[in-house]
Symmetry: D2
Subunit: 378 residues, 4 copies
């Protein structure tokens, strides 16, 4: 079950933390804290083990993995001694990180991306490669008529036009190469009819969107609590202060709007109505990789009595995301091996904005769906 | 299905809010916010309706219900106009509130209590009466050998000794009178082998313990979240500031200890280990009926990265408890009607310290168990 | 010392709370909580007493004062029994509330405003009238060349152009009528060279800008604390959730920007440098008159150790502002009586964005300046 | 001006952070963040410079300074590279750390302590030695008649009885050796009439008590804010969660009570009345050297409107205390050089429970007193 994990954004904080962590787990230097697949109810022989995972990826940045890992250690995201102990493992992965190809047409770019992945698969004799998008969030993309069908998309990609946003182009390349694809970001990724068609035709599964690592995770247990207790949520407002690379990207109004919408969706879905309020994202460089989210919920109880709760979440996004990247790669690989294709709504547990027409949004329900799904894999 | 609800502590904040609320619901003056049985998945013709409920009770205090309701209105717990509109309804209930009997032996006291309840049942031609303990929390009670069997308990009660704490004596009287019993407090109540034996012999069900209205409610969704995500909770510490009558009682070290232990239990049960930390209860008169709870959770993620969350809950305990009192009375009455007897572990959703050998402690799981239970009632 | 207080925005929450409160104080029905001038170090015979104050004002809205007061009572801002007890006092003030005049030129509008004020002064035989702007915040106003001198302003006002924003036009009218003027909002008000010139010529004092009622009040004691302790503030970010009329106005981007800038100014002034971060204002209707502000401060100590503090302020803006309106009216009236004219930088204690070239921004220093000033008045 | 700093508790977190920091400042490897004496208004040639300070001390523990420094670096209190760079400086100080003497009578113990200090002074040719108590907090000490006068104290110390708690015995030894003494803890220290007499007779100054590093620092600016604004503070409750060595000590009820009382004192002094509420100290090992304090303040404004604020302070106690230890050593040394003796109430800025009959408790006032004092030194 040797399984490749091809990371789009391989030099970013999430990717590097995933790579360091997987190497540490393989070397027996760390416990799999935060790894959902190690939950007693989820452990399964159908999933590739940590030792089966081989990493590679694309990135536009060129700072070396080791340097990035040391920076993460200095910031308190990963332990310094771990990075020191894993020098040779990181160097090995470094050799499999490629600059993102750029050609004259998006078709040619996609082919170059697919070729890099295929060559990685062959070089390491991998049973399959899962492609995971952990690149920075894109601004909301413009619609294009060619998004509607695979046929028209293929034609448009052959022109010099920019038809697909980067995330969707990578998804196109991954699916074309017969690779399962995981969208860990709120970017477009596979969310186009043409790409859905491609996944079906290629017989590969895909999962997404937007890893649930902090505030939305809390919403996915708190909103169902209010619903079960029939307490009337009047407003839910929040602010996210974050300082890493994603912070700078998300402070752009367009990306901010995309992310905020995906963050409030869970409320409507679990409460059955949308309360007042918004979620703001604010870039504060000094905060670095640790994100602080604050939310205020006002609600009314019996006879309308006004009450409130607030919470502060001070989490390290990369450390929260990285084990989920490993989980998703393992599960999606096993799904592929089991012959599943198309969207995997059973993985809603991992995402802010899960795929599917009516996916569960409460975390407990999502967990049960995940358990059932993983236990069904052979 | 005319159903009596006999409140022990009938002049306390929770009882009076329940009485005002039930009257308002009956009169169509309020929506059933906070009433769990009105959840679409729980609505059932097997439960008595709000209009079927008739209230009475015991109390050691003698301030009238109307005066207490006005005080609650002034404190913002119930709306002033509602109290004004329900004068006559409150006066009707007032006639059914009795001073708590006191006799030379606990046996005689219990008989007097049971007689009051039986007379209430006959006077109003009630199908059954559910007794609900909403009195102030007792200090942890001393054990007594007579608690072990019904036979020895009956003998001991006939002596002038104080064998049972007040809550258990009331439970004894209720069960003796053939009434289902609900423990809404952390006091002893039915938690003695002799009383379990009595319930079986009388063929009546009972439920408890300690209504889950604030911080523990949050713990019951947050702790499972950490468990599902396999995040390692290192410490969970909290403080509860409260100012009502219960605040004064709970600030007594013995009662405080009883309550705190019941508040941390959910952590061990849902996490599978007990993190560092305690929950303190502090009496702050100015805070009144609104309770402020603050909790700090420290946890470690992937590769041990330290993270934290804190929350503040600013809730009105009486407004949170009152609709649950109505829910419990309705469900327990229906359970009795269905011939069930003994402990009802399926009602764990409502309690901090649920009955049963291995009751579920995660709220979502508790809710599913409740749905199944209520839908099974005819 | 009969003193008129002419409120621009007389039907707004701040104005109505001021009027109710002054009436209650006059009638001996309330204590002067929140009234700074009643501080032992500030009490002075030079200030008019509460009983000396007579209220009137302009507003574009036409809901009666009594109705507005009842709405404030329902929202918990003022006590219901107080409003009931002050019916006749409120009706008396009601007679002195006028619709805001509108004429073909701003000159004519200003004359009509001034005439209303003058007629109020005569009708009540007032020694002087202080005009206080408590209207909604305006968007940041466009500059106009005529703002630079009184002469050019007068000429421009005679044309049909909109030369002055509403707040400045009112200030112009007030100063023209010989009345001291207090800017309680972040709007333009007297902040134009032409109006400064007018105040000097008319020999009247003015004060401003933007009453300090919540988050900025806290900043004005916390930022000096960090400075005195030489702790290095790295970021200071915040969000204000508010639901009253001002919330709706301030959620407009232009007004939001004006207010936010005035809120961060205290940091640069007291710390000597500007840390990362912004203050957002968010309109959440359900929150009503009670504003919730949350701030996160990250700072570094000895050897760079990163630390943090956060605070939540849950205050009723109108209840915090109203006593300051009374304070400002009393002090400004006394300053006028003492022959002072032009800006009163000694009143920096009251304002987010105080007048003057280098006013103190630390609250303790501002308080000392205020004590010295008030004690110098005869 | 070569000045000795003799630390009682020299291997504790505060002492080690002070030693590392002073060495780093001397070597030019760090900025004096958190050092109050480097404030522009406090800089003075009368104070010894960082390069003039020589460290030594007593401790009952025997873990080496280097090992302690490395543990602090691992905990994030001091930077790892700094500790690595200062090996030889720390080894030099290590040679001057002695086990705390223990003899048959407290007189003999005190003489042995004084001899250690005197020998340190001579060996390093120091102009003077300031003794600073940074040992763990003691339980509140029992009173003893011999505390009342120096004469009776001397007689009692010659017996085998335990007359003085450890902190006071050290203070006795320090004063006897002619050394100024600083109480950085809430322990008894110099707070006995006999020791005051000794200080006068020896012509040495002393300062205390209990360094103000977190929650009390905030109280000393927030409480004056409420007072200046005449807002009526109804309750002020808090909890301190801490995990270091001091946490374990303070969780003992007696020490907890001593510390809590000193933490609430600032409220009474600055507000003029004592609001409801307490401050709890809770030991949570996982929290380590970083302390989390949470406070809730309820207050009433104009017309009694109830409002609230809460804050969370997440600070590293050692990093906050260490620069103050350096400040206090420098200022107290200069005071001694200027011939001052007895209590130094002008240093109230640094302490939770300042010496003197009516010391200022507001931070701004304390700062002004400190500036005046330091500028008066030659």
């Amino acid at each position: 079950m040797r399984t490749g994990v091809w990371l789009v954004g391989a030099r970013g904080s999430v990717a590097v933390t995933s790579i360091v962590g997987a190497a540490a787990l393989k070397a027996g230097l760390a416990e799999p804290a935060g790894c959902v697949c190690e939950h007693p109810r989820l452990r399964s022989g159908a999933l590739p083990g940590f030792a089966d995972l081989v990493f590679g990826g694309h990135d536009v940045a060129d700072t070396g993995l080791l340097k990035r890992a040391e920076a993460l250690a200095a910031a308190g995201v990963v332990p310094t001694p771990l990075v020191a102990a894993l020098h040779s493992e990181l160097s090995t992965v470094e050799e499999e990180v490629r600059p993102l190809p750029r050609a004259d047409t998006q078709r040619d770019t996609a082919e170059a991306i697919a070729a890099d992945i295929a060559s990685f698969r062959e070089r390491h004799d991998l049973e399959r490669v899962v492609v995971v998008n952990v690149a920075s969030t894109e601004p909301a993309a413009a619609r294009h008529p060619a998004h509607e069908s695979l046929e028209s998309l293929r034609q448009a990609l052959a022109t010099p036009d920019v038809v697909l946003p980067a995330s969707a182009l990578t998804a196109y390349a991954a699916l074309s190469a017969g690779c399962p694809y995981v969208d860990f970001t709120p970017s477009t990724g596979t969310r186009l009819p043409a790409l859905h068609e491609l996944a079906s035709r290629q017989n590969v599964p895909y999962a997404g969107h937007d890893g649930k690592t902090g505030e939305t995770l809390l919403k996915s247990v708190l909103a169902p609590m209010f619903a079960m207790r029939r307490l009337d949520v009047r407003s839910w407002s929040g602010i996210n202060l974050l300082g890493g690379g994603d912070g700078a990207t998300l402070s752009e109004p367009a990306a901010n709007a995309a992310k905020s919408a995906s963050k409030q969706r869970v409320l409507g879905e679990t409460l059955g109505y949308v309360p007042d309020g918004h979620t703001r994202i604010e870039y504060v460089p000094d905060i670095g990789d640790f994100k602080t989210a604050w939310d205020l919920v006002t609600f009314a109880g019996f006879l309308g009595t006004p009450m409130r709760m607030e919470f502060t979440w001070h989490g390290c996004d990369s450390a929260l995301a990285a084990p989920l990247v490993l989980d998703l790669a393992r599960i999606t690989a096993a799904a592929h091996r089991n012959g599943l294709c198309g969207p995997l709504p059973e993985l809603a547990f991992f995402f802010k904005d899960p795929l599917g027409t009516a996916p569960p949004h409460g975390l407990a329900e999502q967990f049960e769906a995940l358990v059932t799904f993983v236990q069904s894999l052979r």
